[in-house]
């Protein structure tokens, strides 16, 4: 019997407990509904859960650690000579064994592995039986106990609700775990990096040429990991050029759509903007690289700027700006429409025109929301990767010329981590340091922006 089969048995037992306990609860003598605490189905659920949960947890736990245990035991039963060396070799060895056991492979390539197969199989079998049996026993005990304890005064409903609460609370912890995971992994790798490269160097240096670091004698040598050009490039593209495009267009589009457009027009235009938001960034990147960047270069050359490169901050930034339009316009839309319609009526009733109403009442009222939205948009723009990877280039220039190629933090992360990686090199690790900086900056932007937006929303609730 496999673990899966046991799981089915468990389910069956849980169902049985449910049905039995419910039946028992139904038989309670009830004089008035006011005097029983829980309805029969709650008693049933309580029994079912008591049967299922401990046993299920056991099976789940085994599912996670089981393979390791079986593998260790198998290896320890093998003769010394046939055991694989620890590390990658062992991993490959076990993969082969498991492949054969599961029938994916007709036979293993290593003889030792072939030798291990039957041992593995029998070890696995006995463990499965043991754990499965234990689980069934647990289910029986749990279900039976719950069934026996099914009595009118048992607060089954409260207990079931309690269980649900705990499960839900556990689910919500995932978010914290993710954040923790991000912080820890970034910190860990970054510390590694900073043990090799001076953090001040990294933060204030103006030379970025990680490739040179591949040569062992240059690891951590000065100038190679100065990230200022990357920070500048990120800000230049994401916070300046993109915003110059996105803020006016996004804001005005939102204003037009919410305040002016007839509902029929709005029905057509709004989804259009939403489509713009739904286009994947890789498409924008491709478009920027294939169409916009050459056009920008041609234009620059035609007005006499010979130095124009085919990968320019302007191309990447303006496409990014377009990409951000719907983001800003929908934030502005939210902010404007959470200003109560009564405000608008109030202004109209005083004889204000639409634009006066918008400029003097609606926008000021919605300003915190709009500002928060813009900050979030900036955060998003500086974290945007694909457009810059594809259209901004890789040259870490410290320049304010939008026609030159610049690079950004995110583009460098991709660059650094998609080549051949040696995990110990400063080059690879520097990506995590960049990631850490990016994370911290966006985190702060977000927290600030979100508090602004939240406070704003509350003002009108």
């Amino acid at each position: 019997m496999s673990l899966g089969a046991f799981a089915l048995v468990l389910l069956a037992l849980a169902t049985l407990s449910y049905v039995a306990a419910r039946a028992r609860a139904r038989a309670f003598k009830v004089d008035s509904h006011h005097h029983v605490h829980s309805r029969p189905s709650y008693h049933g659920l309580r029994a079912g859960l008591t049967a299922l949960v401990p046993a299920g947890l056991l099976i789940l736990a085994w599912g996670i650690v089981g393979d390791g245990v079986v593998a260790e035991q198998t290896l320890s039963q093998l003769p010394e000579a046939s055991r694989p060396a620890p590390g990658l070799d062992k991993q490959a060895f076990l993969n082969e064994v498991r492949g054969v056991v599961s029938g994916e492979l007709p036979a293993a390539f290593r003889p030792a592995a072939n030798e291990a197969v039957p041992i593995y199989r029998s070890t696995q079998q006995s463990w499965t039986l043991l754990i499965g049996g234990l689980a069934v026993l647990l289910a029986l005990i749990g279900g039976g106990y719950a069934w026996l304890r099914t009595a009118p005064d048992v607060r089954a409903r409260t207990q079931v609700e309690m269980f649900a609460t705990v499960v839900l609370a556990l689910a919500s912890l995932i978010a914290i775990l993710t954040t923790l995971g991000i912080v820890l992994s970034l910190l860990y790798e970054s510390l590694e990096f900073f043990s090799r490269v001076n953090p001040l160097e990294f933060i204030f240096g103006t030379q970025w040429s990680p490739q040179t670091a591949i040569r062992a004698d240059q690891v951590g040598s000065s100038g190679a990991f100065g990230a200022v050009p990357l920070f500048w490039g990120t800000i230049f593209i994401g916070a300046i050029i993109a915003m110059l495009v996105a803020i006016p267009l996004g804001l005005m589009a939102a204003i037009y759509l919410t305040q002016y457009a007839r509902s029929s027009t709005r029905k057509i235009l709004k989804p259009l903007l939403e489509i713009l938001a739904g286009v994947p960034t890789v498409v924008y990147g491709y478009f920027a690289a294939l169409t916009v960047a050459p056009a920008v270069r041609d234009l620059a050359i035609s007005v006499g700027i010979e130095s124009a490169s085919s990968e320019s901050a302007l191309a990447a930034g303006s496409v990014m700006g377009i990409m951000i339009i719907p983001f800003i316009s929908s934030m502005a839309d939210d902010a404007l429409s959470s200003v109560p319609g009564a405000m608008r009526d109030g202004s109209f009733a005083l004889g204000a025109t639409s634009s006066e109403t918008i400029k003097r009442v609606l926008v000021p009222a919605a300003l915190p929301g709009i500002v928060g939205g813009v900050l979030l948009a900036i955060s998003r723009a500086i974290g945007e990767t694909m457009i810059v990877v594809m259209a901004a280039g890789q040259a870490a220039n410290l320049t304010a010329n939008p026609l030159e190629s610049v690079t950004t933090v995110t583009a460098q992360i991709v660059q650094l981590l998609t080549g051949d990686q040696e995990f110990d090199s400063a080059k690879t690790l520097s990506a995590f340091a960049l990631g850490l900086v990016l994370f911290i900056v966006t985190l702060m932007l977000n927290i600030y922006a979100l508090t602004v937006v939240k406070r704003y929303r509350e003002a009108y609730e």
Partner: protein
């Protein structure tokens, strides 16, 4: 008439009239600026779609050449002894079709390079399907080489000097002859939708990437949806106001705005380096994207739950429904459209996501269609990214064609979301 000591407002005065006129002028200007913004955004979209489509439409067609193939067992190296069906099949699958095609092409077209290097694969599959072909001679349409493709699609600029056209004059001549003979045609590129990646642009397909995407999304959905909804329910309906829930709340809101590439770094550091999971596998991609999608689902679910008027909650509590009953009977059903909308939007964002997947290795060249979530795979956006980097001329239209496929999928997902939202939008 009223306020003593102040002048009565004279709306008819010149000043006032002029003032009103000026205000109207400003009004109209402002309105036009707004409309302009929308038009700019919309025309950008139109331009983008137009460019992609005009570039990509060709990707769905390919040039095919007619060859008379003599399936000579000798050339194929199939012995008569392989008479049993099983043996014959094995033999066919081991047979080398390349010389067969090469010689036929050389003989009939005068140049074996006019046929795609991988054209034999289709021929072999044909024979595997129908072993009785062996020994016969058939006219078969085989995939042409890239230069045939561009000639057939008229993508060669004959105004340029011959050495700058990218195709030799000989090839052009060969193409013209073939065309006169009716041995060349532009046909629907079925391989594009049914095959995986290839180094030959004329053979490259997106099926592998599509399956990769589907597998990845299945993992993402399977993890982020239940967790997201449960988290949202917990935060909205149960969470007491304390430090822990504040932290959860802040984490979620921030995760939603953390750059996707950070999730890539997380996936790389945790799933690959720490847990030692398989690089390039949909399961890793799915997990990474699930973490990224989770906050989106949580937030939109919370909004949906919040938008259920508190009066419904009160009503249910007021007749003695328990918390769980309130949630299951009233809140979730009413909030479901909102939750689904948010989920679809989160998922479609995940589906278009590239950067984090690059970091966990889903950029590997995978020429097989993945069969499980632990096998190496790539996904559509990454495939697009990879192709966009290819130098081969045929990959430009492949890239655009792949974008068209991706956009179609995304747009239909968004359409569903919009539909859901409009259909169930409730005015309380």
């Amino acid at each position: 008439m009223s306020q003593s000591g102040t002048r009565k407002l004279d709306w008819q005065s010149k000043e006032m009239q002029a003032r009103v006129r000026r205000r109207y002028v400003r009004e109209r200007r402002f309105r036009r600026v707004g409309l302009g913004a929308v038009i700019i955004a919309a025309s950008f979209l139109a331009f983008l779609l137009f460019t992609i489509t005009s570039n990509g439409i060709g990707g769905f067609r390919r040039a095919e050449l007619a060859l008379d193939l003599n399936y000579d067992p000798a050339i194929l190296g199939i012995q008569a002894s392989d008479s049993s069906e099983e043996a014959a099949a094995t033999a066919v699958s081991r047979a080398d079709f390349r010389p067969l095609l090469a010689s036929a092409a050389q003989a009939q077209l005068g140049d074996s390079s006019l046929v795609s290097e991988g054209a034999w694969l289709a021929v072999r599959d044909q024979v595997v399907e129908d072993p009785s072909l062996i020994g016969t001679t058939q006219r078969v349409w085989v995939v042409g080489a890239p230069n045939m493709d561009i000639l057939a699609k008229g993508q060669v600029d004959f105004d340029l000097a011959p050495d700058r056209r990218g195709v030799s004059t000989a090839t052009v001549a060969a193409y013209r002859t073939l065309r006169e003979e009716g041995r060349i045609r532009l046909a629907f590129n079925s391989g594009f939708l049914t095959q995986a990646d290839s180094t030959n642009s004329e053979l490259a397909g997106i099926w592998g990437a599509l399956i990769g995407s589907i597998l990845t999304m299945a993992i993402t959905l399977g993890i982020s949806f239940p967790l997201g909804v449960m988290t949202a329910v917990y935060l909205e309906e149960y969470a007491p106001k304390n430090k822990l829930t504040d932290i959860i709340e802040v984490s979620i809101n921030n995760l939603a705005a953390v750059p996707s590439i950070i999730f890539g770094l997380l996936g790389l550091a945790v799933f690959l380096n720490t847990f030692g999971m398989q690089r390039s596998a949909p399961v890793v991609g799915g997990l990474t994207l699930a973490l990224m999608t989770l906050p989106v689902i949580v937030i939109s679910s919370r909004v949906a739950l919040k938008s259920v008027p508190p009066s419904i909650r009160d009503a249910a509590l007021g007749i003695g429904a328990s918390r769980l009953q309130v949630i299951l009977h009233h809140l979730i059903p009413v909030a479901l459209p909102g939750i689904l909308t948010g989920t679809i939007i989160g998922l479609s964002r995940a589906l278009g996501e590239t950067a984090p997947l690059l970091l966990i290795g889903m950029r590997a060249f995978v020429s097989d269609v993945p069969e499980g979530v632990t096998e190496p795979a790539t996904v559509l956006p990454v495939q697009i990214f990879l192709w966009s980097d290819e130098v081969g001329r045929g990959f430009v239209e492949k890239t655009s064609a792949a974008i068209m496929v991706l956009l179609t999928v995304l747009l239909s997902m968004n359409a569903v979301a919009i539909y859901l939202r409009n259909k169930f939008e409730r005015r309380w």
